[in-house]
């Protein structure tokens, strides 16, 4: 199979829709499962929600009133069922403290795109750089390139994001002043809430680089990209290192297998053999692991957002846990879980493209 065929395979609808629908239906038990676990955490966690809302000095009557309002005086099974029902509608009520008075849903819809954007750029950089680096490293095993790549990758996963981030800020922002220290766009720029397509007003995505393109505002786009560059680099280095390490080991395993040797013995050029047989087979395990690694990336986003002061889901969850803003914790945890599941679903489908044997 050559490259054009490979590309055709990608476009061809080889995955039956039933397969995808079945997988999507599984999101329902995932949602209820996470909601149950979150419910358990809320009731096992120390701290009384009534005190968090009303403050330490509230009187006993005030606290009791809040408890009744929150439904904490109803039987547990009733609380549990209404909690599940709320989770199913994605309704977690209002934030206790970090965004007081706003619904958790609006907090999440504000902040999710910010994290998604960061994660997408980080993952894209990781895949685009990590795969080739891993392949080169495997093909030229024990060469200088291999050693440099391996040590680089090892350093990449050893350097914590919360150190490389501050150092980059210090160097490029504080001293050289070529990148901004924080924020998502220059403070002098303001974006409208909607954009127009064929005369119709549509809401923006919340991903600032996408929005500025949709609005056709070049200056704003450049400013947004400028702001996003350092955080994306920090997160990208980490995922590049991870992916190149996985690709190297997976590729080595494939190269060692007999059919590659046979193909080579038959006189085919080493590079062609590699591309023809090696890459696709080596990619299969890497693709599955990329899905699972997306979780690590989300963890990285938590740290990156904290370092760069980006107000996304990661910073939100950290602040919310810190001040015991439980509705926000619930909402963010559930969103993270669904996101993680969706990415793995996507990976699952990609996987069946690569290895059609697997489809049931």
């Amino acid at each position: 199979m050559n490259w054009t065929q490979f590309l055709f395979r990608l476009i061809e609808p080889v995955v039956p829709p039933r397969f995808v629908i079945k997988r999507l239906l599984l999101l329902i038990p995932v949602l209820f499962g996470v909601a149950s676990v979150v419910f358990a955490i809320l009731h096992l966690a120390p701290g009384d929600p009534a005190i968090i809302i009303a403050g330490q000095r509230a009187s006993a009557e005030q606290l009791e009133q809040i408890r009744v309002e929150l439904g904490l005086r109803r039987p547990l099974w009733e609380q549990y069922l209404s909690f599940l029902w709320d989770a199913a509608r994605f309704d977690f009520g209002q934030s206790y403290s970090i965004s007081r008075g706003n619904s958790v849903r609006s907090v999440i819809s504000d902040r999710l795109p910010i994290t998604l954007e960061l994660a997408i750029y980080g993952q894209a950089a990781g895949i685009l750089l990590g795969l080739p680096l891993g392949i080169i490293s495997a093909v030229k095993q024990d060469s200088l390139t291999d050693h440099v790549t391996r040590i680089g990758a090892l350093t990449g996963i050893s350097v914590p994001i919360f150190w490389s981030g501050p150092l980059l800020i210090l160097l490029f922002s504080t001293y050289l002043d070529v990148f901004p220290t924080s924020g998502r766009i220059a403070s002098t720029l303001f974006l409208p809430d909607t954009w127009t397509l064929f005369g119709r007003e549509l809401p923006l995505t919340g991903m600032i680089t996408v929005d500025t393109i949709l609005l056709g505002n070049t200056e704003a786009f450049l400013s947004a990209a400028h702001h996003l560059f350092l955080p994306a680099v920090v997160i990208g280095v980490y995922s590049t290192a991870l992916i190149s390490r996985m690709m190297r080991s997976s590729m080595l395993e494939v190269i060692r297998q007999d059919y590659i040797r046979t193909a080579r013995a038959k006189g085919q050029g080493a590079k062609i053999t590699l591309m023809k047989h090696g890459f696709r087979n080596a990619l299969i395990p890497v693709v599955t692991v990329i899905g699972i690694q997306f979780g690590t990336l989300l963890g990285g986003a938590v740290l990156t957002e904290t370092v760069f002061g980006i107000n996304g889901m990661g910073l939100t969850i950290v602040t919310a846990i810190g001040v015991s803003d439980y509705p926000v914790v619930q909402g963010t945890v559930l969103t993270f879980a669904l996101l993680f599941t969706l990415v793995n679903l996507f990976v699952d489908v990609t996987y069946s493209y690569l290895d059609p044997r697997i489809q049931q």
Binding site: L26, V38, F39, H43, L76, W77, V289, T341, V347
Partner: protein, 121 residues
């Protein structure tokens, strides 16, 4: 032929699953009821022990549900990863699903058992 064969097969299908979840449920009911009663005797506060034991039940139930759907969703990925990581394990999606269905049942049982005892107390 197939039509006559179908009803018993459906019954078997349901019965096998019911037995799996049911066995967990019974264990859970006992655990929940005893846990609730014991915890209340220990702390002397029925409301807080109901919250604790019920929450533990919800934890087990949610964990099981996640595991159940997770093993279907990511079963292949896990199998590939285990093979790749060179850990010998005869992990199968089926075993995983069954174990998780049991956990789900017992989690549900704990919640029901706790609620029943709490209502009686």
């Amino acid at each position: 032929m197939t039509q006559r064969g179908e009803p018993p097969r459906l019954r078997q299908y349901v019965a096998a699953r019911a037995r799996l979840v049911g066995s967990g449920l019974v264990v859970g009911l006992l655990l929940g009821g005893l846990g609730m009663a014991g915890w209340t005797l220990y702390t002397g506060d029925a409301r807080s022990s109901e919250a604790t034991v019920f929450a533990l039940g919800a934890l087990v139930f949610g964990f099981g549900l996640l595991g159940w759907s997770g093993s279907i969703l990511a079963g292949r990925g896990i199998e590939a990863m285990q093979e790749h990581m060179d850990t010998r394990s005869n992990w199968t999606e089926r075993d995983s699903r069954r174990a998780m269905a049991r956990l789900c049942g017992s989690g549900g049982g704990i919640m029901i058992g706790t609620s029943v005892v709490a209502a009686l107390l």
